[in-house]
Symmetry: C2
Subunit: 336 residues, 2 copies
């Protein structure tokens, strides 16, 4: 495998010039740069990332921590991150992280020590831990938050417009004639929970017959298991809602689950909508109407923020668009 000396020799320059070309430094004449580039291509040159990392002290990896393995949410981010890192020639250093463990700070230290990453992308639910943020700041690790619980000083955040999306999907339900619409909200600490709930309430506001009923809004912690109980309670009521908006797809799956157990049909007896568009959403019956998060765009933006030297470019906090996926879990409200 060719190294920098081979390239330098072939291009008739010094290794330093080759290095300059690789690192996009300006002080190289265009003609020289071309020669070097050509030599690299001809030799199928690939810089040794070990050597670059060793000498520069900078890691060319971006860290990402994963928790619950069953979350379709995280695997979509993983996929997007792999893509985004590829494109900028970085590596993705994935780590496991058990949020429920006591020694999570040890886990973090070990991860940082092993990988030496200096840049991380934090996705929910981990991105909400202030203790985690403090540790990272203390260790001089930069990070970008995706869909964060709350803003963190000095850390850019990337989100989608949860409020509008929630409002829109709730309006979809209203247009179908639903007036009693339940909401299973997420983890109380997460800002998306609040935004989605607000969107839901905003859609309801002013629609006659669709007044907000606090008892129809219950927390499900973004968890399938937790939502099971909430859905059970909601659907067992004599005045049960004709539609339920779950704050994520896993909780929507829990609603399906309970509906089936109670012999209610989706969407004939109860319409269900979710949020996220994880793979599950199109695999269950009926295919779930939901909001597709811009996983790819969010992750690309995060990687860009972490790798662009002109860190001042663009605003610190970015909000990206979503897509409403109308599938078959919603139908006109049943007559009573």
């Amino acid at each position: 495998m060719a190294n920098i000396f081979d390239v330098a020799k072939r291009a008739g320059v010094s290794i330093k010039t080759v290095s300059r070309v690789m690192n996009d430094q300006s002080a190289v004449r265009a003609a020289t740069r071309e020669r070097v580039l050509k030599a690299m291509k001809e030799l199928d040159y690939n810089p040794s990332h070990a050597a670059r990392e060793l000498r520069s002290g900078r890691s060319r990896s971006i860290g990402m921590l994963f928790g619950d393995p069953s979350s379709g949410f995280q695997s979509r981010f993983h996929h997007a991150a792999l893509q985004a890192c590829d494109e900028v020639g970085y590596f993705l250093a994935a780590g496991l992280f058990d949020e429920r463990a006591d020694d999570w700070d040890k886990q973090l230290s070990a991860f940082l020590a092993r990988t030496r990453v200096k840049n991380m992308i934090l996705v929910p639910p981990l991105c909400g831990s202030t203790v985690l943020h403090d540790q990272l700041i203390e260790r001089g690790v930069s990070f970008v938050l995706i869909s964060p619980t709350q803003p963190v000083d000095g850390a850019p955040s990337i989100s989608m417009d949860d409020f509008t999306a929630a409002k829109e999907i709730t309006s979809h339900l209203l247009e179908l004639g639903h007036r009693r619409i339940g909401h299973i909200s997420g983890d109380a600490e997460h800002i998306a929970t609040k935004r989605r709930r607000e969107g839901y309430e905003a859609a309801l506001a002013g629609v006659s017959g669709a007044e907000i009923d606090e008892s129809l809004i219950q927390p499900g912690g973004f968890s399938f298991d937790e939502a099971l109980d909430v859905a059970e309670a909601m659907l067992s009521r004599p005045d049960r809602p004709t539609a339920i908006f779950a704050s994520n797809d896993e909780m929507a799956a829990a609603v399906y689950f309970v509906a089936n157990r109670l012999d209610l049909r989706v969407p004939e007896d109860v319409s269900v909508v979710g949020f996220d568009d994880i793979p599950l959403a199109r695999t269950i019956w009926p295919p779930l109407t939901t909001v597709a998060q811009p996983y790819e765009a969010m992750t690309h933006e995060a990687v860009r923020k972490l790798t662009r030297s002109d860190a001042t470019s663009g605003p610190d906090d970015v909000t990206l668009g979503y897509e409403l996926k109308i599938r078959q879990s919603t139908a006109p409200a049943p007559k009573r």
Copy 2:
């Protein structure tokens, strides 16, 4: 961050001795080793993997390629691999791989060039590509196959006992009184497809009334979308089966999907069993009876084979145990 010199100084030895201790080389007196270990701990020493890699020319990463992002199957392997690599101080280099793309050999070259991995774990469906194997062999990359399509010379393989598991889960159906049991098989090229089908046939053999009906055995390519059509055909027959054994969970989900569309109830009208135990299996309604693959054990074994220097230890091909997960998608056969 402490380096090897700091450790050497503190332990009162040369850096070479520290290196020996790190690399588990025998030629170090026990007392010396202890001193070095103590110094490392006190200084919270973490060797620079960049330096080790650079100098030794060996990559400390194990490569793993991921295809279809929606596969719960792959995300379970990813999780297991992350764990297993952690334990032996290796890194997981994950790569994206589009099997349908024409330039997949370019993708592979790029992956190998960038990461310089010399060890890979190949999981389905990628592990079946002979072209991939040839490329890897040509490039001097060692690999372990998990649940391979077919044996590859010189590459150890790790599988589970597909035959017995399939036989057992089919027997479960027989015990419930089912006699017409459909089978949606997997990708024809994959050996697991064959083994599972054989297990299914073996269970049926000799059970009166449960003779094999070739028209009840149809290929679904391990794919949700493909299985949709097959399930539709099978469940639309006047003499439709009372139970279906799908060769993986995603295809079982497709059976649920179609059953619902046709107004058949699972398990009252048709029992369904799958294979793999992906996260989906317990999230859909009713929870799917399936075979849990030993993801963690398989992956650990693969990592062990790749990292243990005593490569001769143990047989080349290993078969691991599975677990039957009886859930609620199976019920006694309906009377006709």
